[in-house]
Amino acid sequence: MKAILRCAVFVWLAATSSAHAAINVFACEQEWGSLVKEVAGARADVYVATTAAQDIHKIQARPSLIARARLADLAVCTGADLEIGWMPLVLTQSGNAKIQLGTRGFLEVSNYVPLIEVPTVIDRAMGDVHPRGNPHIQWGPRQIQLAANEIAKRLAEIDAAGSAEYQRRLADFTARWTAATARWSQLAAPLKGVSVIQHHVNYSYLIAFLGMRLAGTLEPKPGVEPTASRLNDLIQQQASNPAKLIVRSSYHSSAPSEWLAERANIPAVMLPATVGGTAVAGDIFGMYDDAIRRMLSAIGS
């Protein structure tokens, strides 16, 4: 009995000691974790469910995710069906009423930002399509700003005491983000009009932001791994619609892009999928810096 009591006390201590911050945040992806840190600072204890090495579509509702969702006051996810395979299960398994679907504690960022590549015809014959549009919104600077605004709003709703701090930090972030966005536009001027092939549709927002041209994807259909026939088609396509660059994300295999790069004689470059994808991409700013620099150095400017 004494042992059970001692164990219970230990469990209680372990549970309470982890709750030192004003608010516990469960971020589905690294970019939202980084953004919450920007807006909330030390007021939030942020747990990020996935890494830049992982394909978000393929995540399973692991026990660790359920445990962390159980502790959260706010969950910040992309939505638009990106986490459809695991987040609904994590939510129902967590038994946490604060972050269920439809509550203010569950934020799906995609509901607050414009999405691109919205399919007009939806059928699984087209691959793993997302009916609401391309969910890889972390690569749109405008999307990031709108996300930060909504995150600040939700944080203030859940933790009213921190409201002023969230506002102050958001204003500070906005100023830095606006300056950074202008800097990136200038820095990436040589990339304007450059034709690019991407592995998956990870970088569509970045390509649009930098005024690059999308020449195709290595995947024959979204979520379907590149096939030999697809790669051959892309080589054929080089004659009529030549691409200058191939990009893949940090969680994709290098083999298909390197194969094509060698045959088409154009550079292939790995970009961070999100924050943490490379050593330089330490936060939401670093991730843009690094992606743009990597593409610039790949095209030799």
Binding site: A14, A53, A61, P63, S64, W86, S94, Q100, Y112
Partner: protein, 484 residues
């Protein structure tokens, strides 16, 4: 612009000078006064032009300033437009969200359908009987030859902010509809609690709560078949609690009708109380970024109370009908370890799973209900386990190996032991499978197993069965859940 104008000014004056020189009749006759006049006139002209040019320059400067300020105004307007656009998007999104409930179809539950079928090749006549196991014939096995599997229909949606409802119906190849699961689940109890009610698959064991289309092998493990009837489910209530800890700790309890006497078949119930209780606990977490694990323990206890279990003869040869009244208790433990490099299962991953169950049965056993009809006390303690590994070595391909073992343990049939031999027999099976998954929604599998699950009572000789399957599993509609 200004530079150009200055040049023009210079050339104008030059031209003027040349013109004047040419038009003067003769420099020789020119008087000093005349010259002076001409000079004055020239200076006047120059002054006049210079002032006009200065006026023009001023006008130009003003125009340029205007252009500059209008440019600034334009960029300000563009920024305002962008702000407006994002506001509009937000409004549009909210409007779209607000519109959704207005549409009838938008409130339809998530629907998905599982289509599956097998081609079974059995070396000898298929039987579900496992020597030494009471009632092991109660569960279903895949048929011989080409056959449609159970087509499963899943419907699920939020009832309101407080409950979620799900229905899983199975359309059997015999053209019947079975309700496999139909339950509500609370969404807002909070504190880590979830209450589930209705018909559902029990949370005991690892594979039990998962539907056959998610299994790693076409057939259930022997222990799952013999003790839990492939998937043990019941009508009742389940309460789960997740502890507020940085690692996963879940406790659960179930109370139910006892519709199935696990692994032995259905019972007609006619009493007010519950006949079945279950407890389960799961702990789990991650080790680094590449490994994750879950350890489970479970207990199920059931009584026949108002009913009896009709049992096939357990050696499957005499064709006698027997029955059992009493209780059974099942203890289980399970461990799952998953590996994926950096936690990314896209290209490679591995799942290791093992499960152990021990069953104790005690009650009254009636031998040959249509003939001798002799009843006496009976007791049995039996166990079984499996260990399996499935490796995805390519985005499209997986291969897996499983070893099953059942121990008939101790069986005491009392007076009925005179009529029924009690073999001391360990059933074993080795299964290999490979499947091709062109997408997350389709799977084509080949499986072959070598089972030694039956004994010829007369000779004590073990019968070896080689069984092979080709199976397809397709999932349509709403995206399935990626269970751990």
């Amino acid at each position: 612009m200004r530079l150009k104008l200055q040049m023009k000014q210079g050339s104008l004056l030059g031209l003027l000078g040349v013109g004047l020189l040419c038009t003067s009749p003769s420099l020789g006759f020119a008087q000093n006064a005349e010259l002076e006049q001409i000079r004055r006139q020239l200076t006047e002209l120059r002054n006049d032009y210079e002032s006009r040019i200065r006026a023009l320059e001023d006008q130009l400067r003003a125009a340029e300033d205007l252009a500059k300020s209008s440019q600034q105004a334009a960029s300000e307007a563009a920024a305002a437009a962008e702000r407006l656009e994002s506001a509009v998007t937000q409004v549009q999104n909210t409007a779209a969200a607000a519109q959704r409930p207005a549409s009838q179809t938008a409130l339809n539950p998530a629907i998905s359908v599982i289509l599956n079928g097998t081609w079974g090749l059995y070396e000898s006549d298929p039987t579900t009987q496992i020597t030494g196991f009471l009632g092991s014939g109660a569960s279903e096995i895949l048929p011989r030859g080409p056959s449609l599997g159970e087509s499963e229909l899943f419907l699920s949606a939020s009832v309101d902010p407080y409950f979620r409802g799900s229905l899983m119906a199975s359309l059997t190849p015999d053209n019947e509809v079975e309700v496999e699961e139909a339950f509500f689940e609370t969404l807002s109890l909070g504190g880590g609690f979830t209450l589930k009610g209705g018909r559902f698959l029990s949370g005991i064991g690892y594979w039990n709560a998962q539907h056959p289309h998610t299994w790693d092998f076409a057939e259930a493990s022997l222990v799952q078949r013999a003790f839990l009837g492939n998937n043990y489910g019941d009508d009742g209530l389940q309460l789960r609690w997740v502890a507020p800890l940085p690692f996963f700790l879940q406790l659960g309890t179930e109370v139910g009708r006892g519709r199935d006497f696990a692994g032995m078949g259905e019972i007609e119930r006619n009493n007010n109380g519950a006949n079945s209780w279950a407890l389960f606990a799961k702990v789990g977490g991650d080790i680094g970024t590449s490994y994750s694990w879950q350890l489970g323990a479970s207990h199920l206890r059931q009584k026949t109370e108002s009913g009896v279990v009709p049992l096939f003869d357990y050696d499957d040869l005499s064709g006698l009908q027997n029955r059992f009244a009493g209780r059974q208790r099942i203890w289980g433990a399970d461990l799952v370890i998953k590996w994926a490099p950096d936690g990314n299962p896209l290209y490679q991953n591995f799942r290791f799973a093992t499960e152990y169950h021990r069953r104790k049965v005690d009650g009254q056993f009636t031998f040959d209900t249509t003939g001798l009809n002799q009843t006496d006390a009976a007791k049995a303690a039996q166990s079984g386990w499996y260990v399996q590994g499935v490796y995805q070595f390519h985005p499209y391909w997986r291969a897996g190996l499983r070893y099953d073992r059942l121990s008939s343990g101790t069986v005491d049939l009392g007076a009925n032991a005179a009529y029924l031999s009690v073999p001391d027999f360990d059933a074993t099976r080795l299964t290999f499978m490979a499947d091709y998954n062109p997408s997350e929604f389709s799977r084509i599998r080949a499986e072959i197993s070598e089972g030694r699950t039956r004994q010829v009572p007369a000779t004590g000789e073990t019968v070896s069965d080689t069984i092979a399957f080709v199976q397809y599993i397709f999932s349509l509609g709403a995206h399935g859940a990626h269970q751990f």
